[in-house]
């Protein structure tokens, strides 16, 4: 598996010798290899998460780990172990350094080999869920990173362009999606989850592990791939399909997805975001509320874990998304008091400005959306013929534009809501004069309010999200609210 490019010195790698294996690393791979062969999942997890981190901190703060060639001799040149080691090797590289194009391509090759081995059903290992999740998560991350990288054509060298043209299959969107889909299908995970509902399977009860002497790898990778697909589809702006990919997982119940905190957060973050873009604000608010409360209560237990920073980042982003949802769709009963007070602290002022729907408000919507949204990608390869430009922002700009467009359509609703909260009945003529519009315009505003607050769910059923509601009888508006009776007849 010789790869001379691993040995190419990069500025950050001064002093890096890929063939030098410190004793602690030798000991690490030997132990890890043995524990994998003996299927000691707990020990594997300790080595994978704790030891790998410690050694990275101590020896490989800003250089890669030793090359796989250098360590292979200590692990019987085991083919599968080498694929796993390389996967960790690349993951470390992406985290600490900037991968070269060559390295990106090699990493893709490694995933192809690794997934193919798994898909052929020949692995007999039990690996910790954390590791299996990290594989899928990293796979999607590297795809996203590659698309961002490829879209910045302006300063590409001729060599890079030549490589891109030659290896056009690397991180090709069809390849990525088809691998994830293959893992879902080959593992039969959807059927397993179905059968579990009827008590014919023990997947969730066993945390995904196989206690019959078999392997959990394909099944659990298949399971996590559903979340991977949700994520990829969100990156592409295809929210409906993303949610469909997640559908076999019932997020209202405990499941394997919430065993690994990174998976739990990624799932809910994308689920909530997709619902936001689909205008199902109440659904998004509910899920964000639950997870934010959960993170609030449990983050102290993750302080030492390598995922801690990510957890905090996603936490902040979800507060921003929650602020957006509640500004577009005010709800008083859906948010827990703890979450609400955090929300007011972080975004209280911004939210009140957003609800004024003036220019400053849209600047706020822009700011929060841009901060919290996924890193959208353009999945197609560039045309190498045209003048080389950077188009890595195109996908993000489109989603932002469409989101703001939707927010703008709701511009007059906030004003309307203020009046509806104050009157129990009011004539169209009077309300029109208070709102400084003519009657026909008022009628359109009232229709817009009804349309925007009545979402259509995935089954085609109409659901009202309105916290304040009304109906019109000829030329009089009657306000309907499930709160204490109001004061004025207009």
């Amino acid at each position: 598996m010789a790869d001379h490019d691993e040995q190419r010195l990069q500025p950050q790698d001064l002093g890096y010798d890929p063939n030098f294996v410190p004793d602690s690393v030798k000991s690490f791979v030997v132990h890890l290899y043995r524990q994998i062969r003996e299927k000691n999942v707990y020990e594997i997890h300790q080595l994978y998460e704790a030891s790998f981190q410690t050694l990275s901190e101590r020896h490989f703060k800003d250089t890669p780990w030793p090359s796989v060639d250098a360590v292979a001799q200590y692990v019987d040149n085991d083919h599968v172990f080498c694929l796993l080691y390389r996967e960790m090797w690349f993951r470390h590289l992406y985290a600490r350094l900037t991968p070269t194009l060559r390295q990106r391509i090699d990493s893709w090759d490694n995933y192809c080999s690794l997934f193919q081995v798994v898909l052929h059903g020949v692995v007999n290992m039990q690996l910790p869920n954390q590791w299996l999740w990290d594989m899928v998560d990293e796979f999607v991350y590297q795809f996203q990173s590659f698309c961002q990288y490829r879209a910045k054509m302006k300063n590409k060298t001729e060599q890079e362009i030549a490589l891109l043209r030659q290896f056009d299959q690397a991180w090709n969107v069809f390849g990525v999606l088809n691998f994830l889909q293959a893992l879902v299908e080959k593992s039969a995970i959807i059927q397993i989850l179905e059968q579990e509902k009827e008590g014919l399977e023990q997947f969730t009860a066993n945390d995904g592990y196989d206690y019959n002497g078999g392997s959990n790898v394909l099944k659990v990778l298949g399971y996590f791939s559903m979340v991977g697909l949700l994520r990829v589809h969100c990156l592409l702006g295809d929210y409906d399909t993303g949610l469909k990919c997640l559908q076999p997982i019932d997020i209202s119940q405990p499941g394997v997805f919430n065993i690994v905190i990174g998976c739990h957060i990624t799932t809910i973050y994308h689920y909530g975001f997709a619902n936001l873009m689909l205008r199902r604000y109440v659904e998004a608010i509910r899920e964000f509320n639950k997870i934010l409360l959960y993170i609030f209560k449990t983050k102290v237990y993750h302080q030492k874990s390598p995922q801690y920073e990510q957890i905090l980042k996603k936490n902040e982003q979800m507060y921003a998304l929650l602020a957006i949802c509640l500004s577009l769709c005010p709800q008083s009963k859906l948010v827990d008091e703890t979450v609400n007070s955090q929300l007011r602290e972080k975004y209280g002022e911004k939210m009140s400005r957003m609800q004024r729907y003036d220019d400053e408000a849209f600047a706020m919507y822009d700011e929060l959306f841009s901060y919290a949204c996924p890193k959208f990608i353009t999945p197609s390869a560039p045309s190498f013929e045209e003048p080389l430009v950077n188009y890595n922002q195109d996908a993000y700009r489109l989603q932002l534009k469409l989101f703001l467009y939707e927010a703008k359509q709701q511009q007059l609703l906030s004003g309307l809501r203020t009046f509806l909260k104050v009157y129990s009945t009011i004539s169209l003529a009077k309300l029109a004069s208070y709102m400084e519009v003519d009657e026909p315009t008022l009628r359109t505003i009232l229709l817009t309010y009804k349309h925007k607050t009545h979402a259509v769910d995935s089954a085609g059923k109409v659901i009202s999200n309105a916290d304040v509601n009304f109906f019109i009888d000829d030329d009089t508006i009657h306000v309907v609210e499930s709160k204490p009776p109001k004061r004025f007849k207009g």
Binding site: D238, S380, K450, V480
Partner: protein, 231 residues
């Protein structure tokens, strides 16, 4: 209301739905999906899933995109209102494509419908007959949507407001109202000197009493669950 699911016509529709379910990420199904769009137009059926799949393939291979097909998908999506299908499609269409004339027009039409501006919608649609007349059933679908929103909003609606929203007046409107009275529970009242008032059926969206009853009642599934456990 416009959201018609693809009927299982023995042959075409069934096969395409299968294609989308099992071959989602396969570039080779693109021609089938394009043909299916044309089928949907001519047979007045609709499949969001299949159309999103096609838009996705166009996203992956932009050189294969057909503007005409995309325009037809968008018109069908408009017809699916109040479902947000039109937005879902826009999310997948590159900005520079959306800047083309025909797409700008469709976006304007969508904007009018999203904001209840039916008069402006029908005016604009009349100027763009070539776009909308290419898809049979368009007018009817938009009228269905208009009635949907009006029904959420009004218990009693003046005839003129209704006429403007569904773009029918005079004798044609009389006939239309007769039909609705006979089949959809509409009632026509004479308002003092101001023309007809149409009384729309009450439901939980335009009637607070019905809303209250719906909110207070326990969904049957919950009761059924308890009953099952008792036995």
């Amino acid at each position: 209301m416009g959201r018609e699911t693809a009927k299982a016509q023995q042959g075409t529709a069934y096969t395409v739905e299968q294609l989308v379910a099992f071959n989602r990420y396969n570039p080779d199904i693109l021609p089938d999906l394009e043909n299916y769009v044309n089928d949907q137009v001519s047979s007045q059926t609709y499949s969001l899933e299949s159309n999103l799949c096609l838009l996705r393939l166009y996203q992956f291979e932009p050189e294969k995109m057909s503007s005409q097909i995309v325009a037809r998908i968008l018109v069908k999506a408009l017809m699916a209102m109040p479902a947000p299908d039109f937005s879902l499609c826009l999310f997948l269409i590159p900005e520079r494509v959306q800047m083309e004339e025909q797409f700008k027009t469709l976006i304007v039409l969508s904007h009018y419908l999203e904001t209840g501006r039916f008069r402006q919608f029908w005016d604009e649609a009349a100027k763009s007959r070539h776009i909308v007349e290419a898809v049979p059933g368009f007018e009817q679908a938009i009228q269905d949507y208009a009635i949907h929103v009006l029904s959420l909003t009004y218990q009693r609606i003046p005839r003129t407001v209704l006429a403007e929203a569904i773009n029918i007046e005079g004798l044609a409107l009389d006939k239309f109202l007769e039909h609705q009275v006979a089949n959809s529970g509409w009632v026509i009242e004479k308002s003092q000197g101001r023309g007809q008032l149409i009384v729309l059926p009450r439901d939980e969206y335009n009637d607070p009493i019905l809303k209250k009853n719906t909110a207070d009642s326990v969904p049957f599934e919950h009761i059924a669950h308890i009953l099952n456990n008792l036995s």
